[in-house]
Every structure is written in C-alpha cells, then in structure tokens.
Amino acid sequence: MKSCIDLPNQPGFESIYAPHLQNAVNRGLNEADEKTEEAAVRDMNSILSNMRKAGADVEDGATFNMDGSEYDGGGIALPIISTNQPVNLLNPTKVNSFINRHKDKKGNIKVGVFKFKRESKTQFKQADKSSMDLNIIIQPWQKNLGLITAKVLRQNSLFDLDAFESFYTGETGNNPLRISNKQFALIQEHLDKGTLPPFVVDKYNKLGGPFINNKGETILTHWSNQSVEDLIKSGGKINPAFHGTGKRGSDWRNKGNFSKQWVDFTSYGINVGKKGGYKKEPGIGNTKYEVSIEATELYDFDSDPAGLLDIAKEVVTKEGMYPSVAKEYTNQVYIKLISDAGFSGLWSKKGPNGITASVFKGLKPDTFEEEKVVEPVKPKVKPIVPIVKPIVPTVKPIVPIVKPIVPTVKPIVPVTGAIVTGASPIYDKLLNKFTNDKAKQIINKLDKPLIITTEGNRGYHQGYSDKVTVPLDNRDGVYIDLDAVVLHEYGHHIDFMLKQIELGYNPYHRYSPSRAYKISHLSADRFKSTLVNDAKKLGLIFRGSVTTPTPKEARSKLLVNSKESNSELVKNHIIREEFLLKVSKQLEFLAGPKGNGMIHNILDIIDGTTGGEFSNRYGLYGHPRGYWKKSKNNKFSEAFANLFSLWAYTDKQYWILAKDLFPETINEFEVMMEEVLND
C-alpha cells in the first residue's frame, strides 16, 4: 500500500495471513505451470530487480495478473488487502506467494507492487519501503464507490492505471483494515451493481463526515428565497451564480476583494435532522431543496487530504500579501485550488451551525418543500388611525378581478403509480402542489397515466399509450404557465380515463382508436350542450356554428345578398365582437405581461368556441385555427382539460371567474366530478 508514513521496521510485515505465508508459497509454486511460471518470473524478475536498484528518490510500480504476468490494461486499482515490506526484500517468490494466497478470489483482481520514494533523509531509515496490494480493478464510473471503500479500509489512495494518477482518501494507509473473505466478496458483488455493501456504508457513516446512502451519495439541503417556479425559470438547477442573493456570509466581501481567486458557490447543510448535522439558521429562505451528490465529489476541507492548503500558503507567501488579509486570501486560494483540482465542492465541520457544504456547480434538486412560515405575534397595541381622511380619487382605479396569487403551503401528498422519466421527482410534487384536496381525491381514485415524461418542449396527452408529456422549462420563451400546463395535460388524462371506464376499463389495454376521450364522444352530450349554450349567450357561437363569418365577411354577405340583410344577424355579430374586445382587453390585463396559466385556460375555452378566431385575431392565448378545424370535438375536449385545470387548482378565484363566463358548463363539470368521486 502506498504511504509516505514510516512503517514498523519489520521485514516482510504482513497485514493479513502472515502465519500462512510459507505454506502458500509452496502451494503456489507447485500448482503453477512450469513454463508460464518461468516466463512470468522472468518478467517479474526484471521488474522487481529494477525496483530494487532504483534510487531512493525514485518511485516505481507494476501491476500483475493472477498468473504472474504483467498487467498492462487500464482501469482504477482499488487496494483491498495490503502488505508492506522494505524494497530490498521484494522478490518474485514473495510476490508469487502473495498471488497464490488470493488465487481463490474471483473477479477482476490484480496484484500491485509499489516502491515509494524517500521524502527525506530521515525517512525509511534502513531501507526504502514497498507495498504489495490485492487490487480490484474498477471502472471510472465506480471511482466514488472505490474511494469510499478505500477510505473505510484505511487505504491511502486509488491508482488510475490509464492516467497514472492517484486519488487520495485522506488516510495514511499505515494500518489498513483487515477484512474477511466474505466481506471481500460482498465488496465485489456490490461494486458490480454500482452500490456499497452495508458494512462499508455503516463504517463510513461513523467517520463523522457527510452521511452516505448505499449508492455513495450524500444528501445536501439548501434553503432558498427562490420558489420552485423561479428555479425552473432559471434552468432547473440551484445555481452558484446566485451566490449572495440570499443571506450573505462573511465571505461575501471576498468576492470583490479577491475576484481572481473567487469561485461562486452555493451553501448547503449536510446530515440535516441527524445528530451533529446542520441546523437551519434564520433568514435563509423557506423553500427547502434536497439534492444528492457523490460523496467524494466534495473535498474534505478540514482534513485537506491532498495537501492543497500548503500549496495555497506557498502562493500567498510568494505574492507577499499583507498579513491583515493573508489569512482570508489563503483561504480563498485554497478554495480555488480545490475547484481547480476538479472537485465539485467542499465540506467542513467548522461552521457554527454544524456540517456544511459549499458547492461550485449547479445541482438539480431531487425534492423540494415549502416550509410554513411562523408569523410573528401581533402586538396588542392598537394601530394609530389617522384623523385626516384620505382624498378619494374621483376616477375609479382599475381593480383587477383576480387577487395576487399568494402561495399557500399545503402538505405534499405523494402521487404514486406514475411511470416518470426525465426530471421526474419534481413532476409528481408539482402536480400535488397545484391541486386542491378534491382534485387529489380524483387523481388518486383513477389510475395514473402509464407514462409521464418531462422530456421535450411541448405539452400533450397521447391516447395510445396514455402518455402525458409536460415540459418543465420555459416553453414559449416569454411566460411560465407551468401550473396550467401540468394540470391541463392531466385533465386530458382524466378525460381519457373516464372514457376507458365507460368502455370497460382494462389497465393493460387502455386505448380505443376512435373514441379515446369521453368528451369527444356522444356520452358527453350533456357537457357539450351546456358549453354551446354558454357560448351562445356570450355571442361566441352564432346559430350553433363555430365557423361564423368574421365581421368583414358578414358585411360582404349583407351587401351582396339583400335577403340576408336581416339586422338580427349583424346585431349578434356586434354583441360577439364587443364581448371579444372587452374580454380580450380584460383578460390580457389579468394575464399580465408575464402571462398567467390559469387565465390562459379561460382564454383557451373562449378560443375553442370561436374556432381559433379569438387567439388569431387578438394575439392572445389559445389553440390555432387549424387545431380547432381538425375536429369539431376538440373544442369540447380542450374545454374539459381547461376546466379540470381551473377546478383542480389550489386558488379558487380563477374557477369563480370562469363560472361568471360559463355558468352552465361549470355546473355540469362539477356534477361530473362529483359523479366520479361518488361512483
């Protein structure tokens, strides 16, 4: 095992199996094929001879296959069992006996021999040191698991056989942990699966650093002022570029003072809720995000296993920094070196609130939760009421019908059963976040979509495989209507499921090509007629047709054919046009410059009843004319999805607004939902 620390001065010191050394040597030599052995010994001989002859300040090493030949393949060597001895005692017999002792072990195992260089005159008093390691060869994707295992086994480092580079664990390697054959096999078995055996996880979690799970990941917790919607707007990641936008730490001024050495980072708490873990400090926001990160991506700032602090000190000394700022500057250079060394962040126990991490890269949260804010107790003293009456303006101010949306904190009820791909964990939580209790009951009563995916740029429901596609990014480049899109597409799924139930529900065969949605079919005549009635009252549908002529066409008609010139036709057009103008202005105002998803749902219902004329003419939200032309049923199925979105939403104000415009339809929809709930 590689180590720069002096070992006990005992030739042939073995960390394991020492009493059986001679027996194993004899057994190994007898069993080996004579010719192979000669070839292997010859190669090994020359390698080991060179090592013995090498100078004290030279380091050298080689890896052998279990037949004694030299291994010249790649991978990362993870030392599991080690023995140390002076280099002048290193010979083929010793190496072969080591090999033979471990020949019964399976998997991609190799034996590494390494000669250390002398770091100082006093080091290695009698002879330079060498180590022999039984290595498991792992792949780069297993590096994190390998480092954790090596750390637990008190090994000094892993060695990359392709890049000839060491990855240090922070351990000296002086006294490696002895493990049983069963534990050795367990390590191999778990590494193959990309996990860690429970005994490694337990031991690692007792080291006093970040706790890990069996995938070698640490859970980091970040509190932010940023809501999840804002997070998605800014790319879906907790972004270190926002450093300083929350509560500023004492390091904030370093960003300006030492800009060349500055590295943006996000602060996280580690082992939150566990003994010795981070305790939330006041003033850091109430949206709690959890992310997972490979444990060894974070550098142990306090232990400094790679000795980067010494390098930082050298840099600062050379630059001749003023003593008053040298300490802080050294710290900053140290952090920069950690970042430059390829670590994603660092962790430390030195903070006043427990163990924390600073992460240099953006991380995608796995979960989020909006924590309830405890309101301060109101003072009992009555507020002073001004005697002077305020001047009342004569002109009435424009009062928006819809109150500003105040996020309401609701318990997150997990929706299960959905097969989710992409940025999945967040989708279910959003669905739960946006829906009221009644909607949750409906969602839980009916089977979930077979597939929910957040991949792609468009939102739609696909009837063939009951697939809901909802992008979580900024779809139109202008506004975010995430709440509406999530619920709207889920509304199509509800419509789809109601049809499936009507057909005789088969969870494994959900599709009927011609009648995929209930609202598209005759069975929803009641719903359709109420929508038509409401639309007629608003002048949106004229004489029951959605393909009413535009005013220009009506005018031409009026002039061309005198028989058509009955004023009733034109009068109805005017009612309609005036309504559309009024509504477009009012709803455009309510939607605001950034858009409002729930208003979009109302606009889309109006748009459907006008066959796309509304969105086309006023540039407002809706489906295009071609979509409405495609099928006369689209206006009903889209209305259903829009109404589900409005009905299911936590804020009922939009539902009330829609009720003003479409009272009969809303009433019918409520009856339908009650039927589903009570069925």
């Binding site: 034109v570 540039g619 495609k630």
Partner: protein
C-alpha cells in the same frame, strides 16, 4: 330605399374591424403569420397551445419562411404520434 338601421349597424362593424386591424398591425406574430400565408398560400400548421405572439413561435415561422419550408409543428411529434394526432388520439 336605404335602411338607416342597417347602415348604422354596418358603420359599427366597420369601426370594430378598423379597431382590430389597428391592434393587429402592431403585433409581430400577426404580421409574420400573414407573411407565411402570402408566401406559401397556407396558414402555418400550429398544433400546440400558445400565443401567436410568442417569440418562439415567431422565430420558428420566420425560420420556416427563410428556409422556404412551410411551418409545421407536426414534425415535433414522432411518426406514430402524428398518425395518432390525425386520428384524434392526441390532445395538446
């Protein structure tokens, strides 16, 4: 004989049309939409919800005009989903 009532109604319609035309002439989405119709003789094939004024849609139609290929959002679906859309088995 001139029907006064009809003339008044026609005048009202004229003002509505004028008002609307004034509004739409300021909208880049509306303009590019018309440009597409003038060039290809067909409306852009938009199938997803949104606004004609969305910058993403406007730039998409612009690109289509520049490339001389009519704008068609059906291409954003897989071939199977395109068939499904035609059959009414896909809702946006």
């Amino acid at each position: 004989m001139i029907d006064i009532k009809a003339v008044m109604i026609l005048n009202k319609l004229d003002s509505i049309i004028k008002d609307n035309n004034n509004r739409s002439s300021f909208r880049p989405g509306s303009r590019i939409y018309k440009e597409h119709i003038n060039k290809f003789g067909v409306e852009p094939n938009i199938i997803f919800r949104g606004s004609l004024e969305s910058p993403k849609l406007i730039s998409g139609i612009k690109q289509a005009i520049d490339r001389n290929i009519p704008y068609d959002e059906l291409n954003e679906l897989s071939p199977e989903e395109q068939v499904l859309y035609e059959q009414g088995g896909l809702q946006t």
